[in-house]
């Protein structure tokens, strides 16, 4: 972590001032250590609180969408609901099946949560506000994210329950399928920014065209397509509706979580929300300009506030989608990934390459550049979408 911006105003520097005020008395080698500890503590505290609030907001928003009040008995507007849930989870009996593998059964939620938390390290939360500055930060993010799959399988297998095992295999199939478009949709951004470092990717999206159109990647044809693919894959990677098949409460018996109870169950949920937050944070970083303000006139608002605002907006969209879309079937899920998202992401690579190559085009050529760019982004979308739906038609259900 660096010393922070020196020429910025007070609010922008506030996190660094606070940190330095806390650690200024320590000798130099210890100060570095303390700064790192503070960064870790801040990330855990902020995202822990966000997790608690998010469970409440999710239930309130779902209630609102479904025309019911949602939790409203604990405290003002149900604000104490997360606390009540936490106490309930902590005091519930922790059941380990006799035939289970006790070590792996214990390790699975811990490993899952550990890898989920690791992903927070490289997201730039504001100007210079990143816990670890890595040259290959984006790669680190996806590496830590992909290691969570092993924990999910660990949970399913160590429970010694056939439902849990089958569900874990399905979860793996889903996660592997969507890992690919997730990665492929991030590659064009790396191509455009010319770096794998997350803070540098945000820096590369600074500036405005005509003074009011920010240079965010989502405002380019390939960027919009890649953002869409990334967002859909992120929904699936974080087991969110409409891709929440791994633990479909109402249809399967909670999938790989069947044999988990009490606090371990809560840990799985925490990891799921953490994964959701970190994927949203990465989406903001890669496509929505990270901590950059949308207008030059609004740059007086500190950068981390912009990041938080964009992150919360994306999280609300996640909840909104959960309230709106019905769950997919397993075959629809994998077909969607392999027949639609992967080819789309591959074509999008070419679109992004074209966009980079035509960087110097000016005047009327600029219009041509946009036309070709949009055609390269929308054309495959329409063609593949038609092909995806072809031959499936309206379904008839005999038993329903």
């Amino acid at each position: 972590m660096s010393a922070g911006p020196t020429d910025a105003h007070l609010l922008e520097r506030a996190p660094f001032l606070l940190r330095d005020w806390l650690t200024h008395a320590l000798p130099e080698p210890l100060r570095w250590f303390a700064n790192t500890l503070i960064a870790i503590a801040a990330i855990l505290a902020i995202f822990g609180t966000l997790f608690a609030l998010l469970t409440l907001v999710e239930r309130k928003v779902l209630g609102r969408v479904q025309n019911r009040p949602g939790p409203n008995r604990t405290g003002w507007f149900g604000i104490l609901q997360p606390v009540a849930d936490g106490i309930k989870m902590l005091t519930k009996e922790d059941i380990v099946p006799r035939a289970a593998d006790p070590l792996l059964h214990f390790l699975a939620p811990v490993a899952l949560l550990g890898f989920s938390v690791l992903t927070f390290a490289v997201i730039p939360y504001g100007r210079d506000l990143v816990a670890v500055r890595l040259d290959a930060g984006v790669l680190y993010f996806f590496a830590a994210g992909s290691a969570t799959e092993l924990s999910i399988f660990m949970a399913g297998w160590s429970s010694n329950n056939k439902y849990a095992l089958v569900a874990a295999m399905r979860a793996l199939a889903q996660l592997i399928s969507y890992e690919l478009p997730l990665l492929l949709s991030a590659v064009p951004v790396v191509l455009a920014a010319g770096t794998l470092s997350a803070p540098d990717i945000v820096e590369s999206q600074g500036g405005f065209t005509w003074g009011f159109v920010p240079h965010w990647h989502v405002f380019t044809p390939w960027g919009a397509a890649a953002f869409l693919v990334f967002f859909i894959s992120a929904l699936s990677e974080s087991n969110r509706s409409p891709f929440d098949l791994p633990e479909a409460e109402s249809e399967l018996i909670a999938g790989h979580l069947t044999e988990y109870s009490g606090f371990k169950y809560a840990l799985f949920f925490m990891a799921e929300y953490f994964g959701m937050c970190s994927l949203c944070g990465m989406a903001v970083t890669l496509f929505l300009g990270g901590w950059q303000a949308p207008l030059a006139a609004l740059e007086f608002i500190p950068s981390y506030a912009w990041f938080a605002l964009k992150l919360c907006a994306l999280l609300l969209v996640f909840i909104w989608i959960r309230a709106t879309l019905p769950r997919l079937r397993m075959d629809q899920l994998t077909r969607f990934a392999w027949k639609f998202l992967v080819p789309l992401a591959l074509v999008n690579l070419a679109a992004s390459a074209f966009w980079s190559l035509s960087f110097g085009w000016a005047g009327p050529m600029q219009a041509l550049r946009w036309a070709i760019g949009i055609a390269l982004a929308v054309g495959p979308f329409v063609l593949l979408g038609r092909r995806l739906g072809a031959g499936i038609g309206p379904r008839t259900y005999r038993y329903a």
């Binding site: 040259d135 992909s146 290691a147 092993l150 794998l196 259900y397 005999r398």
Partner: protein, 171 residues
């Protein structure tokens, strides 16, 4: 620095040995995953961040999945015990095969010209790595890239031309 290396080495080799000696195939895979993570930690120790992340992404993220699926889709029952290494002939064959692999690997390592630099941490940035890959090793990178793209396209084609839903499949 060397204490960290010792811990990493111990974890890597220990989990590899446990994977080799264990009787439960799935536990062996988990131990193997730990061993791969140890190799990634070694890369981190050696200052090769990029390789370390790639190791985690590919080995922990993908290859362990392949191994898991291979085991789960091929074995008959959960309690199926692996055959005991009772037969002397099988044990001898196993030792011979292992020794052969070890000999080939050792020969390759011994005959490779390894450039040992004096500095402890060769700080190769990702940028430098990229320039090297696109410059001196561009041909190799292209071949690997084409191979992987063909594999990916093949997967997409397999998925696209797979059996269409038959009418009898309707639930």
């Amino acid at each position: 620095m060397s204490a960290a290396l010792a811990i990493v080495a111990l974890a890597t080799l220990g989990s590899a040995a446990a994977a080799m000696l264990g009787r439960s195939l799935l536990r062996s895979i988990f131990m193997l995953a730990v061993s791969w993570a140890g190799v990634a930690a070694f890369y981190m120790w050696a200052g090769a961040q990029f390789v370390a992340f790639a190791q985690v992404l590919i080995y922990l993220g993908a290859i362990s999945m392949v191994a898991l699926f291979a085991v789960l889709l091929t074995r008959q029952s959960r309690d199926e015990a692996p055959p005991p290494p009772a037969a002397l002939r099988r044990a001898i064959l196993a030792v011979v095969a292992a020794a052969g692999v070890a000999a080939v690997l050792l020969w390759a390592v011994a005959h490779s010209p390894l450039a040992v630099s004096g500095s402890l941490a060769p700080a190769t940035s990702v940028r430098q790595l990229g320039f090297d890959l696109m410059g001196r090793h561009a041909a190799a990178l292209l071949v690997v890239g084409v191979l992987l793209t063909i594999a990916l396209l093949g997967a997409v084609v397999l998925a696209a031309d797979g059996a269409q839903e038959r009418p009898g499949d309707e639930p």
